[in-house]
């Protein structure tokens, strides 16, 4: 539901970075979006493409890499995919779990000149 605000924040961040790096045109933006980020990639793309943008981002493409949910057991060190949101270690049944990936909402890089 809040993809529009997220898209605006992405545009603002890119504008700041482009200004700092002397970039006048961005052709491609790469995002990492975790499966648990509460952001829908299609909705985000729609908002990004349809928001009014200056010449810097006119026609820029958004490449969204979805990041699977990954967890690691603190007790035995096992890493496991937790796409089913079950955060119990499948190897040793421990509940001491760190979530390693899946919450991302990150601008990784962009192509500009």
């Amino acid at each position: 539901m809040h993809e529009l605000a997220i898209a605006q924040e992405i545009i603002r961040t890119l504008e700041d970075s482009a200004a700092a790096n002397g970039i006048s045109r961005i052709a491609l933006v790469r995002l990492a979006v975790g499966k648990m980020s509460t952001v829908m990639p299609d909705a985000l793309r729609f908002c990004f493409e349809n928001l009014p943008k200056g010449p810097l981002l006119d026609g820029a493409r958004l490449e969204i890499g979805e990041v699977e949910v990954l967890a690691r057991c603190r007790d035995c060190g096992a890493e496991f995919a937790a796409g089913d949101y079950r955060f119990v270690c499948p190897a040793c049944a421990s509940a001491e779990i760190d979530i390693v990936a899946g919450r991302e909402l990150r601008i990784e890089s962009y192509e500009g000149e």
Partner: protein, 220 residues
Amino acid sequence: MELKLVTNVLKANDALAEQNRHLLSQKGLLTINIMSSPGSGKTSLLERTIDALRDEVRIGVIEGDIATSKDALRIRAKEVPVIQINTSGGCHLDANMIQQALAEFPLDGLDLLVIENVGNLVCPAGFDLGEDFKVMLLSVTEGNDKPLKYPRMFLESRAVIINKIDLLPYTEFDMTLAERDIRSINPKAQLFALSARTGEGFEKWCAWLKARVADKKAVL
């Protein structure tokens, strides 16, 4: 050319949340962020918690809703400080809204600040407000499927409260199954079952909350 940025899109929110957390911690104020669907009983839970802890814990409340001051009026009737945030369509509270509310909130002399988030089972889980921890409220009338359908809400919460247990005889809700599902998502969550209408189960919840308030003061 390619420019590596590797920037968290929510960094602006996270920075404000850290400022809020710092301010609230300096005052030794425990801050909790209560999340649930609309109609699960967040405000009723608060009303009864305020009544139960009235003589022991000084509570302040920030109410988040899309529209109206209905919840703030209910809390004001309990004679505790309250401020209403209207998000005008926004699906969750964010750290900036809380920072603005804190600027005009009488924080001194409080022990516990409760932020009641916008009723929504998706977005509030993704936004740090600067709270000490999140509390998830699920009512038995919502059905057993909610933890597995909306897992991040349960994952991010330190405590999960199952409300409206007085209605259990009139629903298909299976308490054992609910606990199993919640534990599979968040094995360390503190679980409570209560009724904000009858008061059943409140002693355990209030004792736990009081202990967390004391923990917060102890580190000051």
